[in-house]
Subunit: 208 residues, 2 copies
């Protein structure tokens, strides 16, 4: 802690390297995300996070009484803002842009941390994270896909009855399935295939 | 162990309740599946399985040196045979039958055990199970969906280019996503929606 003024006759204090407040908190939250993505929910410990943030256990516990609290805040702080729906003139281009953004978010540090939690928490612990996952990931994705599809309906590219939760779930579901079950890293070519072989046929308006 | 003949002068031995060979092994494998579906991979212990099978730890370790070996065999033994592709005259009916079969398998004891493993094993441990999951679940589903789609192509209901891995992945991906992320138990109505709102539009042939 940096004193506001040195005691009379004392040597001038060097600037303390001890971080405070938001800077320290951010370091702790980032260390939690890093741990999560590396060793998962089960492997994460408060001590490990403290070490990763180069601070003491007490600094962590003081702010977050439990592992759950810490992880909830770390995910909340870390989730990338989803942004606005792209509008590039065709639903195919819009979907491509949106999917690449989602893929990049999934494989970002916070995304990898979130996936670790999603996959490991099947228990009451998961309740709290499910709420966060819903508000931080599912609901925004659903909203953006819905906007892209509605843009397509207005352009006449997409059939007017292509609405409903399940339609908007297809891409997130496929991306999670391919990455989890098929160990895919979702390269651009695979995203193009998802769009051309699945989404475009699913959505396109039929000739009259 | 039942003696083949009683010692001279001894009272007749009552039939021993100790199980042997395949009967005991089956009890152990079933106990492993039950534990897996209840407490997951992380919660499963050899001692717990032994207790569930009403036997001693030694009987388990003698046959399965590690938790991994035990779980691999339990899953292998437990996975329901996928059967043949239904042919009820329309791709919509065929898909409905197939999806209900898959849903029932997912929520069966072996299915729940498999899902617990899939969701918890993200590490090198998972390698071995991924192979089993692929051969026991993914590959058969893919094959059956492929047959149902090809039947539809032959009937003229399904467009001839509706082939490829990703198309066949949509249903399994949606079912896993809805059950994992949305805590759905995949009731019949939801399966009908998946088929009517997603698969039929995705697959149907276009009017010329």
């Amino acid at each position: 802690m940096v004193s506001s003024r040195p005691a009379a006759g004392a040597r001038p204090q060097s600037v303390s390297l001890r971080r405070r407040g938001p800077v320290l908190e951010r370091a702790i939250l980032e260390a939690a995300l890093e741990q999560l993505s590396r060793v998962g929910w089960n492997g994460l410990t408060m001590e490990g996070v403290a070490a990763g943030a180069r601070t003491g256990k007490a600094a962590v516990y003081r702010r977050w009484p439990s592992k759950e609290d810490l992880v909830a805040d770390a995910l909340q702080a870390g989730l990338p803002a989803v942004g606005e729906a792209p509008d590039r003139g065709s639903v195919r281009e819009d979907l491509y842009e949106l999917c690449r953004r989602m893929r990049d978010a999934m494989f970002s540090l916070p995304g990898a941390a979130l996936r670790a939690v999603v996959h490991e928490c099947d228990a009451p612990t998961a309740e709290r994270f499910h709420g966060l996952i819903f508000s931080g990931l599912i609901e925004p994705s659903n909203r953006l896909f819905g906007e892209v599809v509605r843009q397509g309906i207005r352009r006449g590219e997409v059939r007017s009855d292509a609405i409903g939760e399940l339609v908007f779930d297809v891409i997130p579901a496929l991306m999670m399935y391919r990455s989890k079950m098929c160990a895919s890293e979702l390269p651009d070519e695979e995203i193009v295939e998802m769009i051309d072989r699945v989404m475009v046929p699913l959505l396109r308006s039929r000739p009259v």
